[in-house]
């Protein structure tokens, strides 16, 4: 078996196959980056709506809470299928990339909303009262006082979530998105050894995740020292 693997190596690592895998890596990173970034922005909006004061905003708060509670409890693959079939009702031949991005976005919005909410709520109440006493609007209080002080709490878990999602994007191969795992299946179907193909795929996932994990750890160390210290320069 080992001999067969060694014989296959030059053919497997041909320039065509390497380009094929590189496109898969690009697709995986694009899905993760676009889906999680959009999810983070939508999560921010969701938390802002959830914390809107006043009785008139009660339906908005309820809607935001319901969204988070529901979508955090549904497996990502099920969300992906739901998006696939739901979009199919309205759009013929919808792009699989779009379907995957929407699914990632829905899932990451629900998850990162809780991370952002935890970060906002970690800012001492007295800081907010000081801003209120000086007539800061809700938006100014958020952007000038709460957000700068909550980044150290939000960024490390948000980065960790995004890194973990690099691996979870492999699930969208189930609906035919041409990302890294799907390309692995294709190469395997072309007759290459499963060990060689998925060993390489595993190595590529590791190479994508590891530097980002180190980045996350560095950010955590840099930011989590204390929000009570001046920003590091």
């Amino acid at each position: 078996m080992l001999e067969r693997l060694i014989r296959e190596l030059p053919r497997f690592f041909s320039p065509e196959n390497l380009a094929f895998l590189a496109q898969g890596v690009g697709m995986t990173l694009a899905l993760t980056f676009i889906g999680c970034t959009l999810g983070f922005l939508l999560a921010f909006l969701l938390v802002y709506l959830r914390q809107t004061p006043g009785w008139w905003a009660a339906p908005v708060r309820l809607l935001a809470i319901t969204y988070v509670e529901i979508f955090r409890r549904i497996p990502f693959l099920v969300i992906t299928y739901l998006v696939l079939f739901f979009i199919a009702v309205f759009v013929d031949n919808a792009s699989l990339f779009l379907i995957a991005v929407v699914a990632i976005c829905i899932y990451s919005t629900a998850y990162t909303a809780e991370i952002i909410r935890g970060g906002f709520e970690s800012v001492p109440r007295q800081q907010i009262e000081a801003a209120l006493a000086m007539n800061f609007s809700r938006w100014k209080t958020l952007t000038r006082v709460i957000m700068p002080q909550s980044w150290p709490v939000i960024i490390p878990p948000a980065v960790a979530f995004m890194i973990s999602f690099i691996k979870d994007t492999s699930l969208v191969s189930q609906v035919g998105v041409f990302e890294l795992t799907f390309r692995g299946k294709e190469l395997n179907n072309m007759g290459f050894s499963g060990i060689l193909v998925f060993g390489t795929i595993a190595l590529l996932y590791f190479l994508m995740s590891y530097p980002l994990t180190r980045l996350g750890a560095w950010l955590e160390k840099r930011l989590a020292a204390s929000r009570h210290h001046r920003p590091q320069r």
């Binding site: 007539n135 800061f136 210290h229």
Partner: protein
């Protein structure tokens, strides 16, 4: 007409009555000191005045105009005329001293940045902190932070300044730094409502002392009258205990 008129003011914290029918008039340029045991409602009174805790009954008037604490516009207008300095300073930890002082004048009141910064430097110099403009709160001592908090309140150009136990979180040697700053303001004629436990300071700066207990005003009088010759049993007991130390 009183500068600040508090009429029969009440407030609750989760059904617990913390202010009960408080009435108090403060004339322009007057320094009124609120004294009393912990939990007597002194700090709550300042919070209610600033609209940080909603009153359940009563009225507050500034120059005869009543503040409607259920109206954002009315509360904003009141906060334009009053400023508070908190017991725990509450400086923004993510901003340096200069930004802490100029952020509201520039971003809320729309003053030109350069003008606000020049004004901030002047106030800081008056507080003896001219060289600390670039420091962050965690680089300052408690006394310095408290003086920055006072500078931040003054930069808002308030007509009425509310000070909530501004020396209670400080080491004894830092207390005078802050009290000197407040003495200066009193001498300049700033209307002030001060919560304090520093009886020597109260005697010196107050034009009127108000003793509170259990959310109510127990007795009001000139410092020498109230502190040295209290009329009520509760005030005698309170001053007897604190002056013994």
């Amino acid at each position: 007409m009183p500068h600040l008129d508090i009429i029969d003011l009440s407030a609750d914290y989760a059904h617990l009555k913390v202010l009960s029918g408080v009435s108090l008039s403060v004339e322009k340029g007057e320094v009124v000191c609120l004294v009393g045991p912990s939990g007597s409602g002194k700090s709550t009174l300042l919070r209610v005045l600033m609209g940080l805790t909603l009153p359940t009954a009563g009225a507050v008037k500034v120059d005869g105009r009543e503040i409607d604490y259920h109206s954002k516009a009315s509360v904003r207008a009141a906060r334009d005329r009053m400023a508070v300095v908190f017991q725990q300073y509450n400086l923004f930890q993510n901003m340096n001293v200069l930004r802490n002082i100029t952020i509201a004048p520039v971003e809320i009141k729309g003053r030109p940045r350069r003008e606000a910064e020049e004004e901030a430097r002047r106030i800081l110099a008056r507080m003896g902190l001219a060289e600390k403009h670039a420091a962050y709160p965690d680089q300052l001592s408690g006394g310095q932070q408290q003086r920055v908090a006072i500078a931040r309140a003054l930069a808002l150009k308030p007509e009425i300044l509310l000070l909530d136990e501004v020396t209670s979180a400080l080491d004894p040697e830092l207390v005078n730094e802050v009290l000197d700053a407040v003495r200066g303001l009193a001498a300049e004629g700033m209307t002030m409502l001060i919560v304090s436990h520093e009886m020597a300071f109260v005697r010196e700066v107050a034009s009127k002392v108000v003793m509170m207990d259990k959310g109510k005003i127990v007795e009001t009088g000139a410092p020498r009258e109230l502190i040295d010759r209290p009329k009520t049993e509760r005030a005698r007991e309170f001053f007897g205990k604190i002056l013994r130390h």
